[in-house]
Symmetry: D2
Subunit: 364 residues, 4 copies
């Protein structure tokens, strides 16, 4: 349990924030699939702080070293393995947190779980840094999906109270994704991007942090993907999305708003369009009964504000068993949601490719 | 894939709405645990339409027959198996939907997935009826958890635009759960329950349906339960929650509202209270880094309105490949959320007990 | 853990010897595959004592009741579930064994494992009776394999010191399997069958039992089936074979004899025959590196003699903590290997079909 | 599927013979367990060719680099990951085998399976080299077992026709294991070791190879370990044993000889000895019904002779589709069984520790 995903694809994610390396093993990539290493590195670089002035000042080169699973430029059927060395490590920053847990962090819960034997340095295994191997896996499956006409893209739908225009769940196309304004933030509008940036810089200046919502779309997904009950697309996506630190909510299609609607409003009528069955609206977010409908898959992920803020906070001292205060120093993103965007896409890609493999089994 | 859960606990849920029976196999219940069959039956009866005037008029006795796994009133270490016969079956009601898919239902998506070989009758395996075996499993784990001082309870936080008072995430106690107003709906206020009932009856009269939100709490959960990344408590709960038909959203603690907050607002300060570490607020919903903090676990699940409504709807005819209309007859709940309440508790109970077993492994 | 198989196929086997029913749930059968219920029942009947004068006198009708997974004569994509009621139960026979463990049985080991909470009656879950659901699963996959030109057949290669002519691992054909002498024993020679029968009747008359070896072949297996390392064909077959009570050994191809050979003797030279790559000999038993070679798959399974004998035996009394003696009464097969034959075929069928599904995933 | 083990312990083994590195990820080691890195390296070195004049002349330093999972000298609850760089690689040696498959090797079967996309170099992922990560995992669990009084040891019971004295399955003690004659071969007798060495050198001089049998014992295993049916100790051990290249047979206790015995000979009578339940004989090899009896666990593994021999052999040319001959050059062990000994111990250790974790779950 913990960092293994055991579907048609098997993932094993390992590493601690300050261990020699972090990495991932991926089993189940069909042999002979083309591997675009440059595209993978470009994808994973999107979550890197080095490229993002809104991120932490821990600047890690995040060089991906591929150890196994590739031959002659193709995936060779053997498990794929890759690592990233942890080079820019400052272990001294964290010693205090082993007994003075940071509010909003896993310091306390991990300490109890592991009876104090866990690696506190940099959050150990429970660290945003572990989303890099998740992105390696997701980046690979994203390229395998694209080769099948399935495109995944996300935008910052909200940072604090600043909202970007939502995706049109019916009319969104690959062009919509290609034309997103990608920078340190990714939005449909330039205007909202500027305001989000200003907000993040303001909270940073105020030694504070801010939350956000990422909306993700998967286009070109054929109908019939997913399983009923425990391995539906929502089940798979949700299990992977909640692997990203800081996620507190997830909704598909109309999501929580569907709870306010009547069936006559929420039901999406079927109709023929160019010989294909489509729906006129897309409150179902492309998934009915756990199975894709062929309409765009749309979901939104809520991120809490970064728990590491530089204001003084109340906490406890587990050694003295007294209340105390804590002032965090160090290098932290003021908004988790900023760099989490490729992680959301990665989670969706892993889930969808895994579901594709289930359907392939029907071609026995 | 599909109806198997493969954690420390293994679940296998089977059956179709109109097959001879539905049921569940549960492996992993420790031998020697006491089995309270009466309590189980009472729990599962809470989702039965027979007991609920707001539910479908398909009145099923839902008698649980235990086939294996029990000896001398205790779980005996062998897999537990139980079935419920499908007795009140009207297969004729459904023949039309194999080619005229009901909007908002899985008729179309399942038909594509299974190439038309799926069991259309009553929705087949993709049916709310399959939540009965989920409740059998959840009911068992709920009683095993209660024997360890862990209590799970849910209420209808919202039906359409009628809201019930939310649980107080800090001060909620077992008394709160014991004093919920339980009837066909379960609420903290009687007033909101009356209004919800009136709304549901109004939409039913209007041949329509309505959505809702269920809020669930788990109390008495010791800190340190759950795993980082892929098997955190949120990952496990979410995978099981999305197994309940009609769920479109899920949030923990402050959930989507956390996206609006600053870190200084959202972080829950630690403090000592009666010698125990607690937090002064509970925006984290009792889970940090996938691991329980000892605070109440709180989550909310959004249900869409029942897709089966009795108004005429637009759809397609897959045989003639033309647009057409459909008027559903038959017996359907006007609000899925009403009877889904024990299913939400069941999902939480399975996830938490599975996590407890992970921690037990540390006692090797 | 225990009675779940979690590959592409998921199996969940449940029941105790004297519980209301035993059964199996099977997930992963592709929708639309034709189900031949009569052929399944015929296959499972091969392990039934009712049809075998060499078996126990516990005559069970073993009627298979199908609960789910079938629609219109085809597998419908939903999990398949079937049960067999335990009708001919004499619980009184077993009460003594809860504290006076039978030598060679699991009475003692199960009692320790389950802290005495296990179901002792009839051996509980650890009973040859549980091979009936294994045969239900195997019988289904056997018919799905036959539809793809893959045939599985076994014979009693040895009962005690009486040997049957081994399969010719190179020249065996479907005709060989069709022409096996099938009766209560299954052999290539009639002569050896008579001698085996005489031996079994002699040991029965002597209140004793006898061991045996079953040799199994799978023909028509295309090359390229199986995975390296942990999910090779040998790994999968062995995991399922050792699920059959009484198995103490397993060998593929030349097996233990290969340990005596030189590489120049054991290596099977490749050659072209009718445009296909074959090997001139088949010491490898059709599997190289965990992957099928296209040659017949051949393996042998060693069964210990039935532990339940009617001679007086030494054992302990767990209550008084003293040595004592035990004389087993009741109804027991004098040779496990007799009725285990379809179980061996079932194990092979499950493993091979599961491997076929892995290869199907390459057709994504 | 393939190189993942998904029990309580999760293993992920990766690498190809000539990829940058091979390695393993292990999830499920309880946090706080002491890690003896020196003992691990010593254990893994036992399979290294560098230390064995009877092995291949490919001398690899096999330096283990630990990437994650350890903090302050203890396992920290995060997945453990370690790699070994492939340094002494001669890819040119293997190019011919991609179209001229070596008899007895997986060249042909892997080529078909992976449609020619597999990594042929050095056998790719299907290589004895991949047993090094298996030994890393096994070495760790061996030390965790030793801390609980469980000792695992193996000897070369047979090389070709030279036999070593078998373990006494009743009276074997830790002293027996401590006093094994360990050198390049491991035997109970010095005399047999000399003869085995002479035989291996003779077949090497003859450009040939030879098979062997390894017998393994696990001592101090408490009764009650293992699960019935699919996760019994035999099932688990067998699945792991068949992951070692070259294994063609496996037997527990009396094994294939049990097929020759009567129940009255094969049944092991229970008796009290020093207040503990033991058996007077141990034909059951310490396992009854998949569950440990407390007696020594004994099993034997048959290894085929190394398929790479230096004599000319018949094979096919997959490009020209004609028969041809092949003379292998390069560096190969003349007897797989020699260096496989720690791999067998590793497989046993993984299986037993995984079973221990199952029992720990009963301490919930």
């Amino acid at each position: 349990m913990s960092s293994f995903y055991n579907g048609n694809i098997k993932l094993s994610i390992f590493g601690q924030s300050h261990s020699p390396a972090i990495g991932v093993v991926i089993d189940g990539i069909p042999a002979g699939e083309k591997f675009d290493e440059a595209a993978l590195k470009e994808f994973v670089a999107r979550r890197s702080a080095s490229n993002n002035s809104l991120g932490t000042q821990r600047k890690e080169p995040d060089e991906i070293e591929i150890l196994a699973g590739v031959a002659n430029g193709n995936f060779c059927g053997a498990p794929f393995a890759a690592i990233i060395r942890n080079t820019n490590v400052k272990p001294g920053d964290y010693s205090e947190f082993s007994h003075k847990p940071r509010p909003g962090h896993a310091d306390y819960t991990a300490s109890v779980k592991y009876n104090g034997a866990n690696d506190f340095s940099g959050g150990g295994h429970i660290s945003g840094r572990l989303t890099a191997p998740l992105c390696i896996a997701g980046g690979i499956f994203k390229q395998l999906l694209e080769a099948r006409g399935i495109y995944i893209g996300a935008h910052h739908e909200r940072i604090g109270n600043i909202t970007d225009t939502r995706f049109d769940p019916v009319n969104i196309t690959k062009d919509t994704l290609d034309n997103l304004h990608r920078g340190e933030l990714t939005t449909t509008d330039t205007d909202s991007q500027d305001k989000m940036r200003a907000l993040i810089e303001a909270v940073r200046a105020d030694k504070d942090s801010i939350g956000g919502v990422i909306e993700c779309a998967a286009l070109g997904v054929m109908p019939g993907l997913g399983e009923p009950m425990l391995d539906g697309l929502e089940n798979r996506i949700s299990r992977l999305i909640f692997a990203i630190p800081g996620v507190k909510g997830l909704e598909f299609g109309a999501g929580f708003d569907a709870a306010l609607l009547r069936g006559s409003e929420n039901n999406d009528p079927f109709t023929y369009k160019n010989g294909r069955v489509v729906t006129l609206t897309n409150n179902h977010g492309g998934i009915l009964g756990g199975i894709s409908s062929g309409m765009p898959i749309i979901f939104r992920t809520a991120f809490k504000p970064t728990p590491s803020i530089f204001k003084q906070q109340d906490t406890v001292d587990l050694l003295t068993k007294e209340n105390t205060t804590l002032t965090i120093k160090g290098r932290h993103d003021p908004c988790i949601a900023v760099r989490a965007l490729p992680c959301v896409e990665a989670a969706a890609a892993i889930a969808l490719y895994d579901a594709l493999l289930d359907n392939a089994k029907n071609n026995i």
